[in-house]
């Protein structure tokens, strides 16, 4: 179906300006479209949109918890009176900082502070205010877990309640180095281990911890990028499997130790060795014979593994090992061709999703019957457009979605999917930059509200951008 023919179905042109778009929505009375264009409406239009959106208590309650409700609509909701909305709005992940601040100052609900302490958009001064004034342990613990909490908040908590929240603070990504030192010196082994595992850990603590014999401490320590060579050597003999496994991932591991760990009796140690990119050929050969299938799988995925070893692993009895080879970025095309006829579909699917294939190989995989393989073919940029045009009509919705995900699928391939029975596919296309706004405009009367919302949200986003859709102007001319 050509884009032109498809367009001839459309009776109207997509509104060009924000104002025209909102006017269309107001005329249609579409509730979800109204939520989508709220952000681009002028004051007068906005008032009319809100009349539509907030006409019943039922609708208002629904909007306050709907996962797609935009921030500006939530803000308008928060200002409605006599509605049990505050908690819903403050819980909503789309709610913006200023709305949250407003809620905090307006509402008397004691539960709100706890919810604000957890919200990623709560403004920094407000978080600080909670850290300074609040006494509720649950609220403060939540605050210490909030990824948006800034160093001052953590510092304040550590000061006001020594030890109480140290575990949470030590696990927070924003904790500064000096505070880590404080926590380390007053902490138990768990706090200390968390401090040592932290990316801001001061060097001096690492030195101190090196003398420890506590397993938990050493496990954390062994992941630190700078360790004295002697300690690396000692730890390679440590009886704790986790310590040796972590050691086997270290970039600075001397070859002699790598060779020793490749023979370690613990599976997880050898698995870690199999992932190393500095393995000499002899060790690769050795690991390719390992009895643990996970060792062979990790080796199969290792980008430094040579052709010969890959060839050997491609014959492995374990399906996941053969799949690993097919997923190796350096798997030669001849080997991929062989794996493309593997008797297990999950191995063939690995080939179908490979970026290093030929359109010829894709054509042969397209004759497969397994949905995983066909989905891979549908999503693969090397698949010929003619083939994609056929897959668009697959019975399997996963295969059709594969085409939507295909970076090389152009509008001529995608257009028929605007009629796809599965709403999610229409949602994806409504926000796909590959289709023109005019093509998408046919979704304006879609029976599924989520599709209409996605369309109008996309169009509203466009209206906010300075350069209008080129395609549109070409049409108009």
């Amino acid at each position: 179906m050509s884009p032109q023919r498809f367009l001839s179905k459309s009776e109207s042109l997509v509104p060009m300006t924000a104002q025209a778009l909102v006017a269309h929505v107001l005329e249609s009375g579409d509730f979800y479209a109204a939520a989508a264009v709220h952000a681009i409406a002028d004051a007068k239009q906005r008032q009319r949109l809100e009349e539509r959106l907030f006409s019943s208590r039922r609708d208002v309650l629904m909007l306050a918890r709907w996962e797609h409700t935009p921030a500006n609509v939530l803000d308008a909701l928060a200002r409605l009176e006599h509605m049990p909305l505050a908690r819903r709005v403050v819980k909503h992940r789309n709610t913006g900082g200023s709305t949250l601040k407003h809620q905090f100052s307006q509402s008397e609900d004691p539960a709100l502070t706890g919810l604000l302490a957890l919200h990623p958009n709560t403004p920094a001064p407000l978080l600080l205010q909670i850290a300074m004034g609040d006494h509720d342990q649950v609220v403060l613990k939540g605050l210490a877990r909030n990824p948006s909490a800034q160093p001052e908040v953590l510092r304040l908590l550590a000061q006001r309640f020594p030890k109480r929240f140290d575990k949470e603070i030590a696990s927070h990504t924003a904790v500064p180095a000096d505070l880590l030192g404080t926590l380390y010196h007053r902490g138990d082994k768990f706090v200390r281990a968390a401090v040592l595992a932290h990316k801001h850990v001061p060097e001096v603590l690492v030195q101190q911890a090196a003398k420890s014999s506590e397993t938990l401490i050493l496990r954390a320590l062994v992941k630190h990028p700078q360790l004295p060579a002697a300690l690396v050597e000692t730890l390679s003999q440590h009886k704790d499997n986790a310590i040796r496994s972590a050691l086997a991932t270290r970039a600075d591991l001397p070859l002699t130790l790598t060779a020793r760990l490749a023979l370690d009796e613990c599976d997880s140690v050898r698995r870690a060795v199999a992932c190393r990119t500095d393995l000499p050929p002899a060790l690769m050969q050795l690991l390719a014979e390992d009895h643990d299938p996970w060792v062979r799988q990790w080796l199969g995925r290792n980008p430094m593994v040579g052709k010969q070893v890959l060839q050997k692993l491609a014959l492995d009895i374990h399906e996941d090992v053969r799949r690993a080879v097919a997923r190796n970025p350096n798997c030669p095309i001849t080997l991929l061709e062989k794996l493309a006829s593997d008797h297990r579909s999950w191995v063939r699917a690995a080939v179908a999703y490979q970026p290093n294939v030929t359109s010829c190989l894709m054509a042969s995989l397209a004759r497969d019957s397994a949905v995983d393989v066909l989905s891979g073919v549908a999503a693969n940029p090397h698949t010929a457009p003619a083939l994609l045009k056929r897959l668009v009509f697959s019975e399997e919705l996963d295969v059709r979605r594969g085409v939507i995900m295909n970076p090389a699928a152009g509008p001529e391939v995608l257009l028929p999917l605007l009629q796809d029975p599965y709403y999610l596919h229409r949602v994806l296309l409504a926000s796909s930059p590959k289709l023109s706004d005019q093509d998408k405009w046919q979704l304006r009367d879609d029976p599924d509200a989520r599709v209409r919302f996605a369309l109008f949200q996309w169009l509203a986003g466009r209206a906010l951008r300075p350069v209008a859709d080129r395609y549109f102007y070409r049409r108009k001319a």
Partner: protein
């Protein structure tokens, strides 16, 4: 003197453990010392199965012999209905199970008894029997009573009552119902799974990953972890769309509903409606997420606020 009738459940020659929970639930309905608890067992081998029912708190075991060794809904219904008529219990307790789903309603409807299913709390309020069950997908507790009913049939949720632990020596009565007929015939049992891809609708322990996983190598890391703890690795849509896990492992609206799952470890899944549609019913959900306010925590039983990669590393270390 009141009578409480409990119906035991059995399959392939074994009494199912939920029966022991019903025996202790029945004790809560006793109001006087001389109240009696009857334990019925229905089937061709009812008499020999009675040897597995020697528990304290049971006054009498009634072995209802029918023509079918395994459960058949019409035979069970007729046998239990006949017992209600002859023994006049004030309450009949059945497990809320696949078998009773097939006949408990028929017993209540045909006999005109009070009826409630999936009850997890029992008691009396000023003499009236009160049962508590869940409503609105377990979001509320609903207390129901049964005014005007001399007998109430209830199916009881598994795990709601502590199983009886003390042995007893109840008397045994045989009730021969081998003349009963039915219009369905149980045939063979079939074990699911084995061979081919795993059917995630039948597995009980699942670990699941979502969009936050980032790249394919991380998927493999979690697959290895799942392997180590004997869980099946499942995913939300973006992972299957990327071809990183088979479509058959996708949980949610465009994937599958993991109906048999009992333990679900959600790694970095925020809880979109799409995904939750496939797993929100699971009894024990453990959610790991960096956002302490993520909606997944509203349906989870346990929550861990943490980075999934750190948790992964730590789990692997502790399991090594």
């Amino acid at each position: 003197m009141n009578t409480i009738l409990v119906v035991a459940e059995h399959r392939r020659g074994e009494v199912r453990p939920v029966t022991l929970e019903l025996i202790s639930a029945a004790q809560q309905l006793k109001t006087a010392a001389d109240d009696r608890v009857l334990l019925a067992i229905v089937g061709q081998e009812a008499e020999s199965l009675a040897s597995q029912l020697q528990w304290a708190g049971v006054d009498e075991i009634i072995a209802c012999k029918t023509g079918s060794a395994e459960f058949e809904p019409e035979l069970a219904e007729q046998a239990v209905s006949a017992l209600i008529v002859s023994r006049k219990p004030i309450a009949v307790l059945l497990p809320h199970s696949v078998d009773t789903l097939g006949y408990a309603t028929a017993v209540a409807v045909k006999g005109g008894y009070g009826y409630a299913t999936d009850v997890f709390k029992l008691g009396y309020d000023t003499g009236a029997l009160v049962a508590t069950r869940g409503g609105y997908n377990q979001k509320v507790n609903v207390e129901v009573d049964f005014p005007g009913f001399a007998c109430v049939v209830m199916t009881v949720r598994g795990g709601a009552f502590k199983p009886v632990e003390t042995a007893g020596a109840p008397m045994l009565t045989v009730d021969d119902r081998s003349e009963l007929t039915a219009r369905s015939r149980p045939l063979e049992f079939i074990e699911q799974g084995g061979g081919g891809d795993i059917d995630i609708t039948t597995v009980e322990f699942i670990m699941s990953i979502g969009r936050g996983i980032g790249e394919e190598a991380n998927v493999e890391d979690f697959r290895e972890l799942a392997d180590n703890i004997d869980a099946t690795l499942c995913c939300s849509r973006p992972i299957a769309d990327a071809g990183w896990l088979p479509k058959s492992r996708q949980v949610g609206q465009s994937g599958k509903v993991v109906s048999a799952c009992k333990l679900y470890v959600a790694m970095g899944i925020s809880g979109s409606i799409q995904h939750m549609a496939g797993m929100k019913h699971v009894n024990t959900i453990i959610a790991v997420n960096t956002d302490p306010g993520a909606s997944i925590f509203t349906i989870a039983k346990y929550g861990i606020v943490a980075d999934i990669f750190e948790i992964h590393e730590e789990l692997q270390a502790q399991l090594a």
